[in-house]
Amino acid sequence: MKSALRLVALDEAAERIGLRPGMALADARAMIPAIAVADADPAADAALLEAVADWAERYTPLVALDPPDGLLLDITGAAHLFGGETALLADLNARLAAQGFFARAAIAGTPGAAIAAARQGPGGAIATADTTAMLAPLSIAALRLDPETVAALDRVGLKRIGQLLDAPRAPLAARFGTALLRQLDRALGLEEEAINPRRPVAPLVAERRFAEPVSREEDIAATLASLAAALAGTLEKTGEGARALELALFRVDGAVRRIAVGTSRPVRAPRLVMELFREKFSGLAEEIDAGFGFDMVRLAVTAAAAADPAQIDLAGDALADGDLDQLVDRIGARLGPEHVSRLTARDTHIPEKQMTENGARRTEKKERPAPPSSCFSSPSSDIDRPLRLFARPEPVDAIAEVPDGPPIGFRWRRALYRVARAEGPERIAAEWWEDSPDQLTRDYFRVEDSSGHRFWLFREGLFERETALPRWYMHGVFA
C-alpha cells in the first residue's frame, strides 16, 4: 500500500462528499468515479506560497512562512494603517478571494493562537482576553505538535486543548515532553514566540497606495521621485545615506516585482536615486510587465550608512571623486556591479595572479593600499611584463632548442612567426606553498618577430626533469 497513489489535498466540494486527505486514489475513484485529479507538485505549491507571501508584504514587512500552506504576518503597529484589525482582515480576505484563493485568516495575540484560530477555530480577530476561551474547544492538533504526541494524547483521552488547560502540568511534561507545554504556553502568550520573517526588514520604507492602479512609466517614475524625496528627509535627520535600495511594485493581480540597486557611497539625493533606477530599468533584460497596473509602490532602504553631509551636498560638479562614484553606480546598475572593477596588486609572482580585478565600489577603506613592495616585485625598470595578458594562456606550436633555449619560430592562431630577437628565460616556479601541486615551472621569454610584434611566451615544464615534452603557451603581448 506504500506506493499507492493517495490524495494530498481536496477542495471543499470533495470534502463535503466524504473524501479525506491520505485516502488512496483507487478508493476515492470507487466512491466517486468522476473526480478530477491532478498530480501533486510540492515545488509549485511552495512557489505559490512564496508569491502570496510577497503579495502579503503589502500589509507588513514581517511575513513568515508556515509551510505547507500557511502564512504568518506580524501586524504589530500596522493594523491602524488599514483602519483596524477587523478592516485589515476583511481587506485581506476580499483581495485573496478576488485572486481566486480560498483562505482562512485570523488575528490573535500570539502566533500559536492565530494559527489555531485560522486552521481549526472560528477565524476573525480574537482579542487577547478571549484567547483561552477560543482555544479550549479546539483539537490538540491545532497546537502544532508532532503527530506522535497528538496520537499519544488521544490514547489517554486528551482531545481538546481545554482538557490540557485543566490537567496538572508536571505529569503532562513528564509523560509527553516539554514541547507540549511550550507550545501551549506559546499559544497562550505565557512564553514569547517570535516569527521568523522570510526577508530582512528594511530599516526605512516609504510606500504609496493607489485607489486606481497605475501602469504608465511616467506615473511610476513620479511616484518613485516622491518616495525618494520622503526617504531623503528621514535619512537627513539621522545623518545617513542609502547604500542599497529596493523598489517593490505590487501588481493588482498579486505579483510583486522587486528591483534592487546598490551605491558606492551613501546617497540620499532623490535625483541620484532616480538616476540609478533609470539605468537599472533600461538595463533590465525583460521589461516590467505592468499587467493591469500596480496598486502599490514601495521604496525601501535596505542598507544605510552614515553619510558625511558635505559630500552629499557637493556631489555633482564640484566633487570630482563623487562624480566618479556616481558613474560607477550608474554603470553597475545598468550592466551589473561585477562589470566594473579596479585592478588590485597581489603579493605573488605567478603573473596571472599578480593583478586581480576587484569591484570598483568603495568599501570601508577609503584609499586602496599601495601595491605590496616585497621581495617578489622586481626592481627592474625594464618593460618585462606585457601590457595585455590573455585570460588563459593560449597553446602554441614552437620550435626551440632543448633543453632550455629560446623559441626560434612558432605558430599561434594559425599564423607562423619567426623570432628575430628573444630575451630570457625568466624562470617562474610554481608556488609549492599554495595548493597547486600539478603546476609546472615556467620559463618565460620575451620575443620579437621580424615585423616588430612583441610576445610573451612560456615553456611549461622543465625538459626531462618535470616533463618529457614541454609545451609552449602564449601568455601576453607587449606594446
Binding site: 566618479l324 545598468r334 585592478l343 593583478m355 625598470s381 618593460i383 611584463r385 601590457l387 630577437r421 603581448v477
Partner: protein, 295 residues
C-alpha cells in the same frame, strides 16, 4: 604680446585666438581664457596633450586636444598590442599632469582576442594601474553607452574605449555624440579600434598603429629595448597627415622619433619637465587662422 599694433587689429587678434581655440591650436602664445595654468578650476590645466616632439606637435596644432575624441586604429588583431601601447603611452603622459582616474571600457570580444589589460605591465609601462577603472561590456552598444557616460563625467581624466571590428552602431551620429560630450566636459576620449575599417567619424585625429622592431637600449644592444610604433596620422583637424616612427621611453614618460636616441650615452638625458606652466614648444610666430579640413 599682442599680434597687431592697430586698434582694429586687436579685435582681429581676439578672433584669431578664438578660432585658434576652436581649431585646437595654441594661438599666438598669449594668455588665454580656459587654457594655461588655470589649476584653480581643477578641470584642466592644459588644453592639449603634446608629444614633446616639435615636428609632430606642429602638424596637429600643438598636440592632441584634451577635450576631443581621438581614434587609434589597429589594422589587424595582432597589431592591437601596439595600438594599446600607444594609447597607454598617451594616458601615461596625461597622468603626469592630471591626477584623476581613467576609465577603460572594453568589449568582451576585444579582451578575448587581444588580451586583458594587465596591471603589472601597465605599471612597468609608466601608467599607474591603480588609477584605472575597468568596465567590461558584452555588446558594442553598451560600450558606446559607457563611453558616453564616462565622457560626461568630469571626475575622469580620460576614457579609453575598446571596440572590435566595425559594428553598425558605430556610425557618424554616435561618433558626433561622443565628440560633443568630450568637448563639453573636457574629458579626453581615446577610441581604440581593433581590426576595424575606416568609418566616418567626428574624431579630431585618427591614427593607424603598427609595431616596428624595438630600438635597442645602448647598454644591451642584443635585447629588446624600447617599443617603437609606426604611427600613420590618417586624419587631423589641421589637415596634416603623415607617418612617424615613434619610440616610447617608459622611464621618463617621453616619446622620441625612432633612431633619434641612437648613439646617446647609456644614461638617458633628462628631458624638460612637463610642468603645466611651461610655455608651448616652438610657438608659431604667425597664428594660422584656418587650414583646409581633412576628409
Amino acid at each position: 604680446m599682442r599680434a597687431s599694433v592697430f586698434m582694429a587689429g586687436e579685435s582681429i587678434a581676439r578672433l584669431r585666438r578664438r578660432i585658434g581655440e576652436i581649431e585646437g591650436r595654441p594661438g599666438d602664445g598669449g594668455p588665454r581664457e580656459g587654457g594655461g595654468p588655470t589649476l584653480a578650476s581643477g578641470i584642466r590645466s592644459r588644453s592639449v596633450l603634446d608629444f614633446g616632439i616639435p615636428l609632430l606637435d606642429e602638424r596637429i596644432g600643438g598636440g592632441l586636444k584634451r577635450n576631443g575624441l581621438h581614434e587609434i586604429r589597429a589594422g589587424e588583431t595582432r597589431d592591437a598590442a601596439a595600438a594599446t601601447g600607444f594609447a597607454t603611452a598617451l594616458l601615461a603622459r596625461l597622468a603626469v599632469t592630471d591626477s584623476r582616474p581613467i576609465l577603460w571600457v572594453m568589449e568582451t570580444a576585444a579582451g578575448r582576442e587581444a588580451g586583458l589589460p594587465y596591471g603589472t605591465g601597465l605599471d612597468r609601462f609608466g601608467l599607474d594601474s591603480r588609477r584605472l577603472v575597468v568596465v567590461h561590456v558584452r555588446r558594442p552598444g553598451e560600450a558606446l553607452w559607457v563611453f558616453e557616460e564616462g565622457l560626461r563625467c568630469r571626475g575622469l581624466a580620460a576614457v579609453l574605449a575598446e571596440i572590435r571590428g566595425s559594428p553598425k552602431q558605430l556610425d557618424l551620429t554616435a561618433s558626433r555624440r561622443l565628440a560633443l560630450r568630450a568637448g563639453e566636459s573636457g574629458v579626453m576620449g581615446l577610441f581604440l579600434r581593433q581590426a576595424g575599417a575606416v568609418l566616418p567619424g567626428a574624431a579630431v585625429t585618427r591614427w593607424l598603429v603598427a609595431p616596428r622592431p624595438a630600438s635597442p637600449v645602448d647598454n644591451f644592444p642584443a635585447g629588446i629595448g624600447r617599443p617603437v610604433w609606426r604611427l600613420v596620422l590618417e586624419r587631423s583637424r589641421t589637415g596634416a597627415t603623415g607617418s612617424f616612427d615613434l619610440e616610447w621611453d617608459h622611464d621618463t614618460c617621453t616619446f622620441a622619433l625612432a633612431g633619434a636616441r641612437a648613439g646617446r650615452a647609456a644614461l638617458p638625458v633628462p628631458r624638460p619637465s612637463l610642468s603645466p606652466d611651461r610655455p608651448d614648444l616652438s610657438p608659431d610666430p604667425r597664428p594660422l587662422v584656418a587650414f583646409r579640413r581633412a576628409s
